[in-house]
């Protein structure tokens, strides 16, 4: 499922960003460009961190920005941004942002399960947060 939801055209790499808000905006760009989401969804993801706290940081250096399902989402999709220098997300350093555009409550469960399984392995996790985007793509979809 991840291979379909996260094609290479949805994956970007950049050295650094000024803020976590900018990181979420930049990570979302492929989904906006290809019509998966609207600007509302990007704003809601940022608002959620401000209101609900930084629990989207699921492990050290890895965040899963997302917002209310279906609100500003045209189609289920994912996009990934890899930063060389970690950005601070309310006290948590983050190098990988994986934006989840959720269409409904559970159609993305398979993709999240695959990610959990991959990252449960310590070597995979190290490669995920430190590797190149080719490594990350191979790891998640290979």
């Amino acid at each position: 499922m991840l291979a379909e939801l996260l094609p290479k055209s949805h994956i970007q790499e950049i050295k650094s960003v000024a803020s976590w808000e900018k990181a979420i905006e930049l990570a979302s760009e492929p989904l906006l460009k290809f019509g998966f989401i609207e600007e509302t969804y990007v704003k809601n993801m940022i608002k959620s961190v401000e209101q609900n706290g930084p629990y989207i940081v699921l492990m050290d250096y890895f965040a899963l920005p997302h917002a209310e399902a279906g609100n500003g989402v045209n189609r289920l999709g994912m996009a990934l941004l890899k930063l060389t220098e970690p950005v601070d997300l309310k006290g948590n350093p983050v190098t990988v942002l994986l934006v989840l555009a959720a269409e409904d409550a559970d159609s993305h469960i398979g993709a999240l399960r695959e990610i959990s399984q991959v990252l449960a392995d310590e070597d995979n996790y190290q490669q995920f947060i430190n590797g190149s985007i080719d490594d990350i793509h191979q790891l998640l979809t290979g």
Binding site: S48, N52, Y55, V57, L58
Partner: protein, 91 residues
């Protein structure tokens, strides 16, 4: 027993937390039913325990009757395991 995994919208982080809790319960040989939900639905749902973030945990502690366990990293096996152990000891 029924456990709730809670995040702001009940679709992403809480789904990951549900998977982490299920895994921890399985490893401990404990039967459990875990449901992921959003913070406002959680307030009206009966459960044996709620697992959520520190920020939402503060809000939920005053509105649910069951114990609330706060977790910082929803995908961190060790941290989620500790919270599950704390819950099992309390029972």
């Amino acid at each position: 027993m029924k456990l709730l995994a809670v995040c702001g919208f009940g679709v992403g982080s809480s789904m990951v937390l549900k998977m982490s809790i299920e895994k921890a319960c399985k490893e401990r040989g404990v039967e459990c039913e875990v449901e992921n939900t959003d913070v406002s639905s959680a307030k009206g749902t009966d459960a044996d325990a709620v697992f959520t973030s520190f920020e939402l945990g503060e809000e939920l502690k005053s509105s649910v009757k069951c114990p609330v366990f706060s977790i910082k990293r929803y995908m961190d096996k060790a941290e989620v395991g500790q919270a599950v152990d704390a819950f099992l000891e309390q029972r």
